[in-house]
Every structure is written in C-alpha cells, then in structure tokens.
Point group: C2
Chain length 334, copies 2
DNA sequence: TTGAAAGCGCTAACAA
DNA sequence: TTGTTAGCGCTTTCAA
C-alpha cells in the first residue's frame, strides 16, 4: 500500500513536502505540487486516516449510538429515517458514520466514554435511549460533543433536537375536541420516555383549555408497543364504553388500538375515533388510513448531525433545536 | 487522555509490559498484571484503536456501502432490515460498522478502494448496488474482502448472499397457476438488477412447466417503484383486459398495481389476483393483505456479516450463501 | 518475566 | 519553498 514515503522517494522530495502538497498548503511550489499529485495518482495512493487521526486528534468520524436496531424493532422505521437523515448530512459534510450498537450486556463491560474514545469519534449522536439509560448520565458528564434525539438534556458539550411534543399532542387533542369529542382517552408510551411526559402534558393542556375534566383512568401506557396497546385498549374500552376517541402517543400503538376496536366490533371512526403520532409509513396504509401528528424524522437526524458538526468545526456551544409537528388528516377521526 | 505510557509510569514498568498485560498475553506475572489492570481502571484508560490499527493493520471495522439510504427510499425498509442484521452480527463478533454512503457525484471523486483503504476497513458489505454500478467492477478487481447482497459476483476475496430468486418467483407463479390462473402477467423491476433477471427466469420456468405460453407483452418493468408500477399496470390492464393475475417482483410495485386495479374498478382478488415479492412490512397492512414471497432480510444481512468475518478471521475463501424464500398466503390471490 | 528500541503513516515545529 | 526531526499511541522483535 502506497504511503507518502513512497511518493516522496519517487518525487525526490521529503515526506513533509508531499504531505503539504497533498493537503493543499500554500507554501509549496506549483510544479512540485503537480508532480506530487501525479505520482500519487499513478501509485494509487490513498491517505491513511488512522495515521492522520493519530496525530491530528481528529478523525472526521461521528459515532451513532442507537438502541433498538434489532429484528423486533424494524417495524418502526423511525430509527431508519433518523439514520438516513444523519447519514445524508454527514456525507455532505464529508464525515463518516460509525454505528455503535449496544446491548445491555455490553453496556456493563464498556462505558459510554470508553466506547467513544476507543474509536476516537469526534462527536456522537444518540437515538432511542430511555431516560433512565445509564449511558445518559455519562453523556452529560463527559465532554464529548454530543447531540441527543428527543431527549432534552443539555450541557456545555451536549445539545439535542426534538419536536415540540407538548404542542403536537395538544394539536391532536384539539382536533379531536373540535370534531366534537369530549370523552377522550390517551394511550401513552411509558414513563421512561421524555416524549411521553410531554405528550401527556399536551393532552392535559388541551383538555383544560376546553374545560374538560382530566380523568386519570382514561390514561394508559402501551409502552410504544402495538400488542401492549391492543391489550390496554381492550381493557380501557371495556371499562369505559363511553369513550368516543383515543389519542395514541405513537402510530404503532394506534394500530394496536385499531385492532382492539375492530375485534370488539367498534366501527372506526363511526363509533371510535383514533388519532396517532409520528406519521409512520404504515399510517397511510392502515384501514381506515390513520389521522396523525407528523414529525419529520429525517430532519430530526439531519439537523442533529448538522448541529453536531457545527459544534465540532466552529467550536460553538451545543445547540437546542425544536422542530414543528403537523396534523395529517386522514380518515380515522370523525 | 490516558495512554499505556501513563500506566507504565504509575506501575513502574515498561510500556511493553503494560501492552502485554492488557492484551492478556501469558508471559506476564500475575501480580504485575493485576496491578496494571487496576491502574488502568483507575486512570479510566481506553485503548486507542487508531494507534493499534496503525501497527496491526487490522481495525476490527467493517465498512458498509449502501445505495439508496435517502429520504425518498425509506418506504422500503429492506435496507434497514439488512442493516439491522449486519449490525447485530457485527456487534456480536465485536467489530464496528462504518457506514459509507456514496452519491454518484462522490463516486467520481473517490474510487471504491480509496474509500475502503482510507478508513482501513477490514472488509466490506455492499447492498443495493445496481449491476452496472462502476464500483462493482472495482470490487472484484480489488482484493479487499467483501460480501455482496443479492449480487452474484464472486472471486477469491468476494462472496455474496442472496435468496433463490428463480425458485422464489417460480413458487409465486406456481401458486397462481394452482389457483387456476392462466393469463398471468409479470411486473418486473429493471434490467440492471440481478434479481430481476432471476425472477423473470422463475416466471418463465413456471409457465413452461404448466404448458402455458410465455407472452412478451405480459411482462413490464416497474423499476421497483410504486408509481411506475401503477402506470405500467394501468397500460397493461388496458391493453390486455383478459389478464387475471399479476406477479410483481416487489411488494412495493404490487402496491402500485393494486392502486391501479382499484382505480379502474377491478376487485382484488375477485377480478384480479396479485402476488408480491419481499414481504415488506406494508404487505400485511395493504387491503386486501398482500400474498407474497418472503425473504428474510435480517438474515441476509446477518449471514453476510458473519461470512465476511469468517473470511477475515479464518482467512478462508469467500462464501456463497443462498437463502430460501417462503410463500406467505394472505388475501390478494383467489 | 521484563525492557529497549524500532516502526506503523502521518503532521507540524523549527531550521535552513 | 523545502527538509530535518520529533512524536501521536500502540505492538513486536530481540535481548537481557
């Protein structure tokens, strides 16, 4: 494999000159540069980023830590869309992405900062972490530049991008209220998710503004799981047959709720209106097509990567970015 | 950041001893080893993989080259599932994954082997490449260990994993024939995809065995695109209203064909039977739910990664792996 | 069982 | 404009 040493030998110059020529420094004679470039091409040279990284202490690499990239979770292409966004931005800005995937067993062996420092990533993006994940504490304590997705924790070196879940949830419930509903249940995710707390707040806000009493027993946790939501909805609808609408904190759960409603013979939206959250691909294909609150997942990833690289290159402070949601009206609410 | 030098100083030994101790070599006194391990932990040491990679010429990194990881393509979670499989295997075997994403503009600047050598990846997995992609030639010529997904090219250092598309397609068409169909059209992908050639072969095989004449005009290319397939299906059904069943080379196209059939008022499966290929998530949610040929995409990725690492570690020859398909009967065929 | 020394491929002070 | 030299953090040969 060709090194700058080889090039130097052929060109009859020192390695320093080769290095400078190839890196576009100004203090090198045009003729020498051309000659060096030619030889480099001839010898099919490619720089060794390891060696470069070793001395520069910069690797042009972003680490991405994802939880839930396994067989079971591929139904929800949230992660994939975020990843696509990250990937797009990163390749535009000429970085590379290394994917760390951690299981809980691995977490015991290796700390967050070990993981990052081993690979000498310049910065990190975290997606899909639960709020009580042990890594999260480390993230804030460590000084590795980091952007979180949907987790509102920040410090000198860590920022986050999220969508306005309070507002999004409120938007959903407002829409239900406008459509004439008063008995509105809420299928939430779980308490370890920041967004669940937010969406609950939005739900309550909307009810309060409309003068509707909040009822504890109308709120259930579906763990963001289709099956769990289906179960919970069955119980809920059984106990409170007067409910006319359910707001679900994720589309996947909305799908579960739909199943449950169907199997107890409830017409959607005739007898029960359902509104979801996320606007996953499946939402438009459900029957009836699911009305939902859309988040731009690709953008979530793209903006996170962009902000991170900004931090890295401009050495600016960590950024906090909030994206807007959008109500997608389909046919599951009446 | 702590280095082995720091540890050596504190422990009062040489860096050599530290290196050996930490890497589990046998020729180091147990006492010294324990002492060194303790100090390493205390100092919160993590090894610098760049430095190690530089001298060892192994990085424990697999590169993954994916085409089509962009906003437009996220509908099709084929890529994501493959990626999940790759990721799972790689993390089990303690490698890391670096994601290369290339656009055609970038390809002009950097060759395949440059891309790989720069990052010094030990091996590469390629997914979603077209058969005429310029990188593909390079892959075979270069001696970088590589596994291709769904592209049957091999050499000393490159293998592939694919599903048996001929058999899969045959299985689909056989099922249609068994169900009594004789006028069976085929919505194929495009000529740059290996799998399209294979599936066409399977389609022809099935017809031949059943004594049904192959008709050129029954075969269309939908480019694996929902919209394109919808268009093509409209033309096809208009020109040949006697067609009773369509085999589609991908579920996404099958969805397009369904749309087209619906908008011309054809009942599925009453008047037109449709069978897809892939078993994407959406397939089960379509209405009617789509009968299709399933491939295990996760496994495709997992096996590719596994075979690659086998090659790397056992220095064995490149492997060729063929996975089976499975007929998933739902409600779009009658 | 341990250490000294060389070297992986590169960049960057400093000197010329 | 160019070269000499040192050093990034690690592994490994060789010698003790």
């Amino acid at each position: 494999m060709t090194t700058i040493k080889d090039i130097a030998k052929v060109a009859g110059v020192s390695v320093t000159t080769v290095s400078r020529a190839l890196n576009g420094y100004s203090d090198v004679n045009e003729k020498t540069r051309r000659k060096i470039s030619e030889i480099a091409k001839e010898l099919n040279y490619s720089p060794n980023t390891l060696a470069r990284g070793l001395v520069m202490k910069k690797t042009k690499t972003i680490g991405m830590l994802v939880s839930g990239m396994n067989r079971a979770n591929s139904k929800d292409n949230f992660t994939f869309e975020v990843l696509s966004g990250v990937n797009e931005c990163i390749s535009e800005r000429d970085y590379d992405l290394v994917l760390f995937s951690t299981t809980t067993t691995k977490q015991r062996e290796k700390t967050y900062s070990q993981l990052c420092r081993e690979r000498r990533v310049d910065g990190v993006i975290l997606q899909g972490m639960k709020i009580d994940d042990p890594y999260l504490k480390e993230v804030v304590e460590s000084d590795i530049p980091c952007m979180l997705i949907d987790i509102p924790i920040s410090s000198e070196s860590v920022g986050y991008v999220t969508t306005d879940s309070v507002l999004g949830a409120k938007r959903a419930v407002d829409y239900l209220i406008q459509s004439g509903h008063k008995k509105i249940a809420f299928m939430n995710g779980h308490d370890q998710a920041y967004v669940s707390q937010q969406r609950l707040k939005g739900y309550r806000d909307a009810l309060r503004e409309a003068g509707i009493d909040f009822r504890e027993e109308y709120v259930r946790n579906g763990d963001f799981l289709e099956d769990k939501a289906e179960e919970e909805a069955a119980k809920l609808l059984d106990e409170h047959p007067d409910i006319t609408a359910i707001f679900c904190a994720s589309d996947l759960m909305a799908l579960g709720v739909m199943k449950s409603a169907k199997s107890s013979g409830l017409a959607i939206p005739g007898q029960l209106s359902i509104i979801g959250y996320d606007n996953i691909l499946l939402a438009g294909y459900a029957s009836p097509p699911l009305t939902t609150i859309a988040q731009d997942k690709f953008d979530l990833g793209y903006k996170a990567a962009n902000a991170l690289i900004d931090m890295l290159e401009e050495e600016g402070p960590a950024k906090i970015i909030t994206l807007e949601t959008e109500l997608i009206v389909r046919e599951s609410v009446q």
